[in-house]
Amino acid sequence: MILEKKDEIIMELNIVLPKIKDLHKIDVYIKNDGYQAIKKALAMSPDDVIEEVKKSGLRGRGGACFPTGLKWSFMPKNDNKPHYLCVNGDESEPGSFKDRQIFEYNPHQMIEGILIACYAIRANTAYIYIRGEYHNWIQMVQKALDDAYERGYVGEKMKETFGTDFYCNIYIHKGAGAYICGEESAQMNSIEGKRGYPRVKPPFPAQNGLWGNPTTINNVETITNVPAIIKNGAEWFAKIGEPTHPGTLLIGVSGHVNRPGVYEVPTGTLLTDIIYKLCDGVPNNKKIKCVIPGGSSMPPLRGDQLEGVKMDAESLKKAGSAIGTGGVMVMDEDTDLSKVLLRITHFYHHESCGQCTPCREGTGWLEKVLKRVANRKATSKDLNLLVDIAQNIEGRTICALGDAAAWPVKFMIQRFRDEFEKYVNESVELEYPNKVHSMRNTKIPLSHLIIK
C-alpha cells in the first residue's frame, strides 16, 4: 500500500506484511503465494537458510535488536538433544500492541516463519507464547494452526506435503498476566510450568534453554519477517529502510494523536512523519511535550527535540533513546508528566518478579517518592533522590526489568528537569515523616521519633 495525501506520495507502507483482505484464511494465504517460502527453504540446507537471514540484516523486533541470523547460528549443530523454538508473543510492554495485528491479520505468515526458523535451527517443536489477555487472539491463531495442520503444512504430515524428513509441531502456550514473561528466560520458566522468574545468564538459551535443551527465542514480528526474506531474497530485504537496521517496523502509535494505530513503515522513517502524516497530528493542534518512542521502558524524548529523529536502532540511540518494541506514546503540552511517570513506575513495581533486591525494593521506593511528587508534596531534593535510586537499580539485576524501571525515571527527570521543578516546592510539610524504615507496627507517636 502506498499512502498518498493529495498528490504527494508520503511513504510506502505494508511491504513485509501485505494488507490483503481475509489473509488470515488459509485459502487466501495460499492463493497469495503462501507456504511457498518454506518450500524454498526446505530445498536449501539449514545453514544456508541461516546465512540468508544473516545476509538480510534482520534484527530482532522485541527490543534488543539482536541480529536474528546470528542468534540462530548459536544453536549447536551436531548434538542429540531436542531443539526448541519459542515465539515471544507476550507483548506486555505498555504502548506496544503490534503482535496482536499479526495474530489477527497474518497468522499464517507467522506460522510459515516458525517452520522456516525451526528448519534452520533444527527444531521439531515450537511454542508460541501469547499473553492470556489475548484469549480471543489465541483462538484466532489456534484456528490458523488447526487449518495448517489439516492441510499438512504443520506436524508430521509435513513430510508427505513437502517430501522431506523435516517436520515441526507448533503449540500455543497461554500466559496468565505477567509482564516479566516477555523476558526470554522467564518465558522459558513459564512454559515449563514454573513461576516466571528470569534465569541467570550464562548459560544462554542456545545452550541451556527449555528443559535444559538448546532453545531460540524470537519475537513474533521477527519471525513473521522471515518468509518474506526467503521468498524475495536477502538483498531485497537489506535494501528496505536504513542499511544498519533494514526492513520494516510495526509502529504502534497511541496517546494524544488523531489517528492512533499500528503502521508498518520502513526503518528510518521520521518520527515526525509518523506523528503528523500517518497519525494526522495532535488533537486541537496542541504542541507535543513528550514522546516515548519504543514502549514505556525506553527513555522519553522532549517534544522540542523531535526534528530529524528517525525510527531505527542507531538513529534513536543517537537521539538518546531506543527503538524498543516500537510503541510510540505521544503526550501533548497539557500532560502532567509526574502522573505519567508515577503510572509507569507503578507498573514496574507491580510487575517486578521479586528476585533481585534492587528491583523489588527500588521500584517500590521510586513509586513512593513519585507519589509525593504527583501530590505536590516533594522538594527538589526528592528529584535527585529519584535519579539516585534509579541509578542504583540500573545494571544491578538479573534481567532487564530493573533497567526498564530505572530508565524512564532517570531520563524523564533529567530531560524534563524544568518541568519537574514546577511540580516540587522549596519545603513541604508531610503528614507523616519520611522515613525509610517501617513504622507499621510501632505504637510510638511519630512526633516522638527524632533522629539525632
Partner: protein
C-alpha cells in the same frame, strides 16, 4: 469443598499435557480449565491439579499466585478489567475506573450483590491504539467514552 474435574475437562488437561515433554508444564492450562469450571482457584483445586500433574501442591500454589489472571477469590460473571496504564490514562482510563466504581457501587476486587460484576484495575492490555479500553472477561471494548461505558454496562446487565 471437594473439587473434581469434569470428564471433558480431564480430557482437555490431557491434551495440554501432550504438548510438553513434562507433565508439570501443563499447570498453567490446568489452572485455566479449573478456573473456568470453578470460577476461582481454591486450595482443593490446587491439590487436585497437583495430583493429576504429579507435582508438589506448593509448586501449583506458586504458579497460581505468581500470575495475576488466576483469581484466588470469586469474581463477578463479568469481570471488568480497566486499563489505566499510560496510553489509556492519557485518554481517560482513570476516569472510566472511577465511573465504574460509582455506577456499580463497588470498590476494586469486590463483587456486586447480584454477582454480575467485579472490577479490577489492570496493567496494559495491549490495546493502546484503542485507548481507553476495558475488557469484560476476555472481550475487549475499545475507544470508550463515559456514555459508551454506561451503555455497555446496561447491555451486560440486560444480558444477565
Amino acid at each position: 469443598m471437594e473439587f473434581k474435574f469434569t470428564e471433558d475437562n480431564i480430557k482437555r488437561i490431557e491434551k495440554s499435557i501432550s504438548k510438553y515433554p513434562e507433565k508439570k508444564a501443563a499447570v498453567m492450562d490446568a489452572l485455566y480449565v479449573a478456573q473456568e469450571q470453578n470460577g476461582y482457584i481454591t486450595n482443593e483445586v490446587m491439590e487436585e491439579i497437583a495430583k493429576i500433574l504429579e507435582m508438589p501442591v506448593s509448586d501449583v500454589y506458586g504458579v497460581a499466585t505468581f500470575y495475576t489472571m488466576y483469581h484466588k477469590k470469586p469474581v463477578g460473571k463479568y469481570h471488568l478489567q480497566v486499563c489505566t496504564n499510560v496510553s489509556c490514562m492519557l485518554k481517560g482510563g482513570m476516569e472510566l475506573l472511577k465511573q465504574l466504581k460509582d455506577e456499580l457501587g463497588i470498590e476494586e476486587s469486590e463483587v456486586t450483590s447480584d454477582g454480575l460484576f467485579s472490577i479490577e484495575e489492570v496493567e496494559c492490555m495491549g490495546a493502546c491504539g484503542g485507548a481507553p479500553m476495558i475488557s469484560a472477561n476476555y472481550d475487549y471494548y475499545e475507544n470508550l467514552t463515559p456514555e459508551k461505558l454506561r451503555n455497555l454496562i446496561n447491555d451486560l446487565r440486560k444480558k444477565g
